[in-house]
């Protein structure tokens, strides 16, 4: 938007909303919305507590493991689906189904299979993130221009060389886009897993603060989590842009 001829960056409206929040909070309309300033103050207090640091550690650990697994499984599976019709046929149904299925209903079942605590949360992160990574990797591989592959064949490249030097590199932007969306879904997964099954990490803190009506801390925690999700996706997006830059206008 432009104001007085100056271009105002889009994200600045968040500052405007924070101000609105502050005012609503000060008017004491509802106990759910404390003033933004006291939330921020609570946030600074929160990050110094041992339980927050612990929760962050646990959450990060399960998240990182789950994402690593999702990427390690998702990318090869997606690439295989893009390359081999039979793999695509066998897994296509499941990938398409789970990418938009209400996985939250499945979480209670996961516990039986994967135990209590972090393993289940780890699996939840994995399940939330993996499908979109598979789909995007598959799309990336299918979108490799056929002429690039023919070019490789023309100059005598082996199947393996074509795969590593052409297909994978060519699919890289889509693979990264999938990982970015996967990361966001993974954050949702870690929270849902922690809230729905094992009350550990952030799930425990959320439960604790909402039960004791400690809204400042509750919102502080929420904002930290939201910010983490946004920052994560911004980081990958930045990386993606660099790749896109080299990949040019495809």
């Amino acid at each position: 938007m432009k104001l007085f001829g100056i271009k105002i960056p889009m994200m600045t409206s968040l500052i405007f909303w924070a101000l609105v929040w502050e005012i609503v909070g000060r008017m004491d309309v509802i106990f759910l919305i404390p003033p933004m300033s006291s939330i921020i103050a609570a946030g600074f207090g929160l990050v110094q507590t041992g339980s927050w640091q612990n929760a962050t550690l646990i959450t990060l650990r399960t998240f990182v493991l789950g994402m690593a697994m999702a990427i390690a499984v998702g990318v090869p599976l997606g690439v295989a689906m893009g390359r081999f019709k039979i793999v695509d046929n066998i897994f296509g149904l499941w990938v398409n189904m789970f990418v938009s299925a209400p996985l939250s209903a499945l979480v209670p079942v996961l516990m039986i299979l994967f135990g209590l605590g972090e393993t289940t949360v780890f699996v939840t992160v994995f399940l939330f993130a993996v499908w979109i990574i598979v789909l995007d990797a598959r799309a990336g591989v299918m979108q490799v221009p056929p002429s690039l592959i023919e070019m490789g064949r023309c100059y005598g490249a082996s199947r393996f060389t074509i795969f590593t030097k052409i297909i994978l590199l060519s699919a890289l932007p889509e693979i990264l886009a999938g990982i970015r969306i996967g990361l966001i879904r993974g954050v949702k997964g870690v929270v849902i897993g922690q809230i729905l099954v094992s009350i550990i990490g952030y799930g425990e803190l959320f439960e604790l603060y909402s039960r004791s009506f400690d809204m400042e801390r509750f919102w502080a925690l929420t904002i930290i989590l939201f910010a983490a999700a946004m920052v994560l996706s911004a980081v990958v997006e930045h990386f993606e842009k660099r790749i896109e830059y080299y990949a040019g206008a495809r």
Binding site: S13, L93, I112
Partner: protein
């Protein structure tokens, strides 16, 4: 995506006359996607049955137990009322999100000011783990239909808004220029060009919104108060009827998948003439 294992069986059986079954099946596999649907379903169900029989755990029923639990629930009249209850907040929430979301999205697509004001909020909301906020709804709206509808809206609205917004922003600019060059008014531009051109993407956004709504209603029924399918899941878990619990979980996933597939079919069939024929 009409998964029809029966059909496969019928064709396989019919082909056993002159040519061999294997040949018929191989031919079928090449031609029909549903064959592969059946194959992968069969693989999963067999694996499930075996895992259940081992058993991995007392709390892990076999596939057949689950199936019979599902049939039992369908016949004794618990499943249908449960879906009736679950669908209330879902449909209400999706309807509200659709009207509100498409309206807001179009406004954001058409006006820079609305975009500046709202887009970041919805971008944040879409990326954010909203599940954390669902319990808060209870404080304000209690435990009834309103709270659950709100949970559905919380998950579905950002998706629908952002997709509608993108749909409008990606309207073919030369169509808009075309309308302007024929002196179309702003209203004509919006209703005769922008909205029709955005319709396929709007609908796709709606479909994603419904997917998010399913997630929302399950979260609401598991986190706010157990009703409908969420109640079947929690109740059967609390009394150790694990087969019934699994049946409820599987049925909601199946229902959502089929709903989404049906919507996608409608979308391709009626909204994308250029993709329909080829």
């Amino acid at each position: 995506m009409a998964a029809s294992p029966q059909k496969v069986g019928a064709t396989g059986g019919a082909g056993s006359g002159s040519s061999s079954i294997v040949e018929t099946l191989a031919d079928f596999a090449r031609r029909r996607k549903s064959f592969w649907v059946a194959v992968s379903l069969a693989i999963l169900f067999t694996a499930w049955e075996i895992a259940g029989r081992v058993p991995i755990s007392f709390a892990f029923p076999t596939f057949l137990e689950t199936l019979s639990a599902l049939i039992e629930m369908a016949l004794d009249g618990t499943l249908l009322p449960a879906y009736f209850i679950t669908f209330q907040p879902l449909l209400l929430g999706v309807a509200v999100s659709a009207v509100l979301g498409i309206g807001l999205g179009i406004a954001m697509g058409l006006s820079d000011k609305a975009e500046w004001l709202l887009a970041p909020v919805f971008i944040v909301l879409q990326a954010a783990p909203m599940a954390a906020l669902v319990p808060l709804v209870t404080f304000v709206y209690g435990i009834g239909l309103v709270a659950k509808t709100l949970a559905v809206i919380m998950l579905a609205l950002p998706v629908i808004v952002l997709n509608s917004y993108k749909a409008v922003r990606h309207v073919n600019p030369s169509l808009v220029d075309m309308c302007r060059s024929f002196q179309g008014t702003r209203m004509q531009q919006i209703f005769k060009i922008v909205i029709p051109d955005a319709t396929p993407v709007l609908f796709a956004g709606l479909r994603l919104g419904i997917a998010a709504g399913f997630i929302g209603v399950m979260l609401a029924e598991l986190l706010i108060t157990p009703t409908g399918i969420g109640d079947l899941i929690t109740y059967h878990r609390s009394v150790a009827n694990y087969a019934h619990m699994y049946a409820a979980v599987a049925s909601i996933i199946a229902v959502s998948t089929l709903t989404l597939a049906a919507l996608q079919y409608v979308e391709l069939r009626f909204l994308r003439p250029e993709k329909r024929r080829k």
